[in-house]
Symmetry: C2
Subunit: 166 residues, 2 copies
């Protein structure tokens, strides 16, 4: 595989690295991929009225998590409860504007929890999730500023009136 050169290639590589860190349960790699306000010369502990570089994350069906503490704790919890997870990404779309990149993709997920009752593996579950991932350019490369994943619910062709509004 060649070294990425263009912005879009760099962003795609950062996006792939994010899902690989999750697949490998590599918490250190995952932590390093998320933006740290300190990378931008901002100390998150002090009051920055614009909350520059403060990350946020929405797992499918979850409320919003804000800041490195909440976000990284959620991944530690998820990793502790996931024995096996694989992401097949489709429909990856990248839009780069200035120092920010917007990635949308479909996550075709296969995952399994810890074994229960003496089984060798927990039950495997398939999930269809769409994600919007926002990356910011830093001196250390593109870092994840926001992840929002949500379940794709079945289409209802027969009745358009129950489409959700926003």
């Amino acid at each position: 595989m060649s070294t990425p050169h263009t912005d879009v290639e760099e962003v795609e590589a950062a996006n792939t690295a994010f899902y690989e860190a999750l697949e490998q349960g590599d918490f250190e790699a995952l932590s390093a991929l998320w933006l740290d306000p300190a990378d931008l010369g901002v100390d998150e502990e002090y009051h920055d009225p614009a909350d520059t570089g403060v990350i946020s994350c929405v797992h499918p069906g979850w409320p919003v998590l804000t800041g490195r503490g909440e976000v990284l704790r959620s991944y530690a919890l998820i990793m502790a409860n996931t024995d096996y997870i694989q992401f097949f990404l489709t429909d990856v779309h990248v839009s780069v504007t200035g120092d920010t990149a917007l990635v949308t993709c479909t996550e075709n997920i296969l995952s399994g929890g810890p074994p229960t009752d003496g089984e060798e593996l927990g039950p495997l579950v398939g999930q269809l999730v769409v994600a919007t991932n926002v990356f910011h350019r830093t001196r250390d490369g593109w870092k994840l500023w926001s992840h929002h994943g949500s379940p794709v619910l079945a289409e209802s062709d027969e009745d358009d009136s129950d489409t959700s509004p926003a």
Copy 2:
């Protein structure tokens, strides 16, 4: 109400304007709030390898919509099927980094469809949605680059092993 001055105040005003346009069913106002690659000197029709300023949108439970055509058509459809909608926003958080702003908020939605069978109003439905809205700074103010809304599902305190992974 005073005129917004700081970046955060300007972004909050743009975010509020987005939901007000939806409440009022004002398609023209809504269209003007979404980023247009032309505002950035990019012609969406020509091949821009970075897809600069190309918008995306995820309605709760929907797949990803990309580009002004798909996104604005979805809002036209939603507006045509919504007689009444009100958003009570809570937990609004803004993070501004350079020329991009990330807004997360909880949308407490009350909505109603068109009347059926001679009723005066369609049934009112309450919904709890969390949203990540990404705005980009242009000469015309902050414009919406991405909206991702997703349903908040009930917490299950008794069993952490079914937490969703990403």
